[in-house]
Each structure stands twice: as structure tokens, then as C-alpha cells.
Symmetry: C2
Subunit: 424 residues, 2 copies
Amino acid sequence: MSVRAGIVVTGTEVLTGRIADRNGPWVSQSLLDLGVDVAHITICGDRPDDLTAQLKFLADVGVDLIITSGGLGPTADDLTVATVAEFCGLELRLDVEIQAHITTIIERWRRNSGRSAGGAALAAGIRKQAMIPAGAQAIPPVGTAPGVAIAASSGRPAVLILPGPPGELQGMWESAVATAPVAAVLADSGDYRTETLRAYRLSEPDLAESLRIAQGSVAGFAELEITTCLRGGEVEVVTRFLSDDAAAYAALVEFLTKAHGRQIFSSDGSTIDEVLIARLDGRTVATAESCTGGLIAARLTDRPGSSAYFLGGVAAYANEVKTRILGVPAELIVAHGAVSEEVAEAMADGAREHLGTDAAVSTTGIAGPDGGSDRKPVGTVCFGISIAGQPTSTTTLVFPGNRATVRALATTAAMHLLSEAMDG
Amino acid sequence: MSVRAGIVVTGTEVLTGRIADRNGPWVSQSLLDLGVDVAHITICGDRPDDLTAQLKFLADVGVDLIITSGGLGPTADDLTVATVAEFCGLELRLDVEIQAHITTIIERWRRNSGRSAGGAALAAGIRKQAMIPAGAQAIPPVGTAPGVAIAASSGRPAVLILPGPPGELQGMWESAVATAPVAAVLADSGDYRTETLRAYRLSEPDLAESLRIAQGSVAGFAELEITTCLRGGEVEVVTRFLSDDAAAYAALVEFLTKAHGRQIFSSDGSTIDEVLIARLDGRTVATAESCTGGLIAARLTDRPGSSAYFLGGVAAYANEVKTRILGVPAELIVAHGAVSEEVAEAMADGAREHLGTDAAVSTTGIAGPDGGSDRKPVGTVCFGISIAGQPTSTTTLVFPGNRATVRALATTAAMHLLSEAMDG
């Protein structure tokens, strides 16, 4: 591995576990895609001494690039730029161009939200955010905080400073890696590719056994850096390799497709959401959710342009709502219980009919922690898939874990069931 | 701060961002509760050299306790115990008691799942997991991997080794902190308390200004360790202090309440979800969501027992669904546009009426990236709140950020608007 990087995540709220860090994992994956190997991720609070210690540690272990996230706000406890500048031995200077840029963004936002122009405190905050280490390159903000790229110098690694809000950090990523200081580091990285296979209903042990066999039968297997990961009910096989070893990867994909073709739903990196949307192919869909309570609808409306295929959904939590809005006969609920394939079928049919779509998916289950029984334990979820011109299908799955896990796994299962139904 | 700790999270799948770490945040919060200040969290892959570098870093910065998670499995790439032992200069020895204990657990599990007794590979794995550094204390496993506690020694911090699966780590926590090596460190920690204030519609600069004034007017302010954090449109003020300084914290709360009482919605750590549920006080609620597409319903069904107040919701994405299911007049949509307070009002009223609840909240807006105009830019969201016996209220807010941010901020805003309406 030629280029190694370290990631420093700053923020007392992350260090103390009050908010989950989303930047470390995202930056790590993005660096891997660029052929850079992440050696360390470190998290520190808003204390300059701790941040300095981590920067020094990463420089001492010899990483080529340090990427920091967070601590770029307008207030006094946001100290990343000043701390990094001191670590690099660089003075801070006002970047008037960036200062004007931030001012424009903030004034536009205040106007749109009907606020008056900002006062002295606001101007001081903007000025603080526009202080850039001498010789460093400012990266225009997506929110209001600019990033900073500092070139490597005499044994000290290059440093890329990015903001904490994940939307801002991700929005600035492309321009950040294109800056001269970062591009100079990336120029030394190998020509790596990362490819992902995704499977559903494939167990990790079965996959491990297949990989063991592949080791002996796939030419060039040793050149492939394969990691497998169980995530939200799906198994991901992520393989990293030099472009020169693409034939070995193609042979691995062929081998795994032969063994698990029915379970593999994606070999081009696409998610189940993307696969489903492609399969809908212009058809419209509705949801009828009990235990998932809106999670499937929220997921189907995640993407820009979702109004092309998602018309609407009903979170039918109470039985009366199932009856009133979806037309599920009250007698059916009495006869079979709300958590039953019969009710799931009626919910899906009702959603498709009343919302006027080509297809509908329904869930009714026991997310827990209460409400389970011997016959229907916590984690039991019944699904219905209603498609115009086809008999409505139902299925029951039992998911492990707590309430949040059951709801998340049921949502993913609904995406897969709908996707499979739209395919055949 | 008397006792400082560092947390080392191991695992290539965490370092590369393929799975999110849950142990760092959990251990950090648990240590804070014990009066221990976490200075650093570091994440490394399954490479002994990187782990050793992180252990050395934490020892060098002078933490009193290092806690590691992960790398305790039976296979060869699980190297945490051996690496820590070498770092501490301790030999590994077979702990026959622990070996027998793991064997019992595994044989019982194999019997229960109908498998035959394990072979030589299994025995080797158990033996590997039962190798404990000389003089260290083994912590009986919850899964199959025992933990290890190593006492501090001549400038080297105490080390607590815990397994990676969060359920196992958390299950072993109490016995782990009770071991002599860890208890000796904890004996030096102070009697700290952590309290949280939460506010909505309070800007960070305004809060910073208040805290600046409080510094001069609140007696004992200097004894309070205050961090502020903007999170999903809310501002959190988290304060840590020795129990002896409780009067200073009370004075700070009084000061901030005087300055921002209308914005502060929680001073006992409760979230807006908890505040809203308490204010509902038995009343039922429905949702009618366009741009948030089910996120509010999903959030209202997040908690156990939510069926007591949430009856159902409609994700009314297409205009026909707004008309068909919620009874929003088509002419109203034509006259004012789908994103209008008039439509938001009709959606909220329609949801309350058709779903038969005491209250309803609606959203209709432009989440983006497309669909914005000069008059209604991306981020514009209209809300309606319908409560039995009260005139329906509407409001329009403009949120910054990308599609996901706008949807998340609108969901939080809906929770606050509904909560405020249920209060008055």
C-alpha cells in the first residue's frame, strides 16, 4: 500500500457519544476508493491540546495525509483551523474572498428566512471562519464553513480540514481532493479499484465457505483484498484490487454468481433501493405500514425524483385506520389478528386500490418489546405484495434484535420482496 | 479532571467504514457516568503494529486507563490480547478455569442447536481465547470471548480488554469495572454529574453571547464544563460538574432560562419526542406528510407503546393522494399550489378527520434538489397543525441544506410545532 492516511474527527459531542460520528466511516470509504489506505481514525473533543496530540501521533507514525472533520464553526470553541495552523507552523490570515463568499451565503439565507441583516457578532463569526493558514488553499463552503488544504512539508503530512456536518463535508469532497495539496498526495496512490457485490438471504458462514473454495479455484485470488460484512440483513462483499488484477476479480464474480446467483442482487455497487427503482420501470407504488410506521415510505421518498414512482402511503398503526383508510374488513382483523398474512394481503390490496398505484407493499408485525406470544414472537412481521394483474403474495419473517432493529430489518425486507416481485 | 481514559476500537470493518462503531460512544458515555473523562477514541484495523502505535500514543499522553474493544475471537486475525500483552511486557498463560468455562458455553450452544461436539479446530480456538496475560484478571464472557483487566504499572496505564459485539461488551461492563485493576483507577475519579438543556429556534451565536455574559454573572461558572452542540435544528447545552458545584449549575440554568426560556424546551435531558408525548397526555395524533414522506410517522412510532398516541398517518406524495385520502379539494391545490399553507391546513384537517384523532400535523414542501422557484425556494416547507376545538394553524419555514437535511429539519420542526400547540 503506497499512501496511508489518518482521519481526525473532532467534537466533544462525538467523543462523549452524544452524537454518532458519520464522517470517519464516510471519509475512510472515500479514501479507499481513491487507493488510499486509512491506518488510523482518532476522535478528540474540542480541546486544542488533545487535537495537537493526535496530529502529532499521526505525523509520527508516518501517514501521508491527515484529514480532519469538525470544529470550523463561527464560535470560539471551534478551534480546528487555528490548532492545525499552529501544528504546521503557519500564521492565520484573513481570506477576503472567502469572507465575502460566506457573507453572501448568510445574507441570502437570512433574507429567505425573513430575518434582518446580521450584526457585529455575526460579522465577527464570519471573519473567524475566513481566517486561513498562510499558503494554504481555502475550499469554498457548502454550508458556511470553508475547508482548508495544506501541502505536505519536510516530513509533515499534508492536512485537509473539512467541516463536521456530514452534508457539508460530503458536498465539499470532490473539490477538496482536487486541491493541489491533496492531489499531490493522491498522485502516489496505486491505481486501485473497489467493487461491491451485495446479497440478501445469504449467510456469512455460507459465503465464507464459498470464498475458501474460491481461494483454490479462482486464478489471481491472492491479489484480491476481500472483506465481507453483514449489514442490515444484507451481506456485502467488498473487493479492492489493482486495476491490473481486474481479470481475477471478474473470475471471482463469476464463481460467486454461480454459487449464490439467486441471493446476489447487485454486482455494480447499486443498493437495493436503486435496483428496486430500476425494476419499477415507470410503474407506481404505494405502502401500507403497520409496524414499520412510515419507514418504507420515508425510504422510498429518500431520492430526488421519487414522485415519479411513489404516489403515497398509509401508516396504518391502529386497526381502525387499517379499516377506515385501507378498507381492511374489521372481521378479518378479528378472525386472524392484525399480525397475519390475511391482514397483510388486505392492506396491500387496499393501498394499491385506494391510492391508485400499480403495486403496493404492506407490513404488519410485532416490533416489540411487548406484544409477542409463543405463536407470534416479537420480531414476527407479515408482508403483502399487491401487483396489478397478479395474485397478491404474502410472507412472514421473524427478525432478531430490539424494536429499532426489527423495524429496520423489516423495512429492508420489504424493499427486497417488492423488488423481487417487480422482477418476475 | 482527575481520571482520564482512552478508548481503542479495533476492527478493519470499522476502520474502513463498512460498519458503524457502537462501542466507542457507549463506553465513552459509561465512563463519563463514572466520573472518568475520555480524552481520545482511536480506531485501528486488525494490524498489530497499528494497535501497538495507538496503545503507545495513549500511554504517552498520560491517560490512566485504556479500554479496547474487539479482536478477541478464536481465529488468528484476532490479535488484541496478544498485542496488549506484548505492549505491557506480560507473557500469555493458559487460564484453565476460563478454558473450561468457554468449553461449557460452546458445548451447550452446540447441543441446543443440534450440532455434534466440536473438533480439534474448535478446541484450539477455545484455548486461544483462554490465553490471559500473566497477573491479569480474566473477565467471564457473555458470549465466548473473556475480557481482561490489567493493572497500571510504573507509568503504564491500566488496560481493560473487552469484546467487539456490543451486546457482549455491554453485558460484561459491570463486572469489568468491578475488577481490581479498573476499580483502582476509578477510585481516583470525582463525583461528576452531567446535565443537558435543549433549545429550539435558538441560534448558536445568541447562546454563545449569553454564555459570555454568564461567565461574569453566574457564581461558580468557572467550575462548569459546558459544551454546546447544534443538532438537527436544536441546540444542546451539556454541562459536566462535580456534585459539589451543583449550585453553580442551578444558577446557570436560572440565567439561561431567563434569557431563553421560550426557546428552552427541556432541562431534564428529555428529548422533544419525550416532551411531545408527555404533552399529548392521552390525546391521539395523525400525520399527513408530503415532503417528509413518512419520516414524522416513523419517528412517532419509534418508541415502545406508541400505539397509545399514534393512530396512523398518510404519506400523501402525489396530489391525487392528497385529494383521495385526505379530502384536500383539487381546486385548492390548483389555486394555491401543493406547497402552500392552504393545502397544509386542508391536509392536517383531513388527516385528523379521516383518521379520527385529536390532533394532526401536516407537511408540504420542496425538499429538492429540484422544484424550487424564486418565491418558493428549495427548503420551503409549509406546516399545518389541526387540533380538535381549535382553529387550525399554519406556518412556513425555509430550511438550508440538501434534500436529506431539509427532510430531517422539517421532521424535527413538525415535532416542535405539534409540541408547542399541544401545550397551549
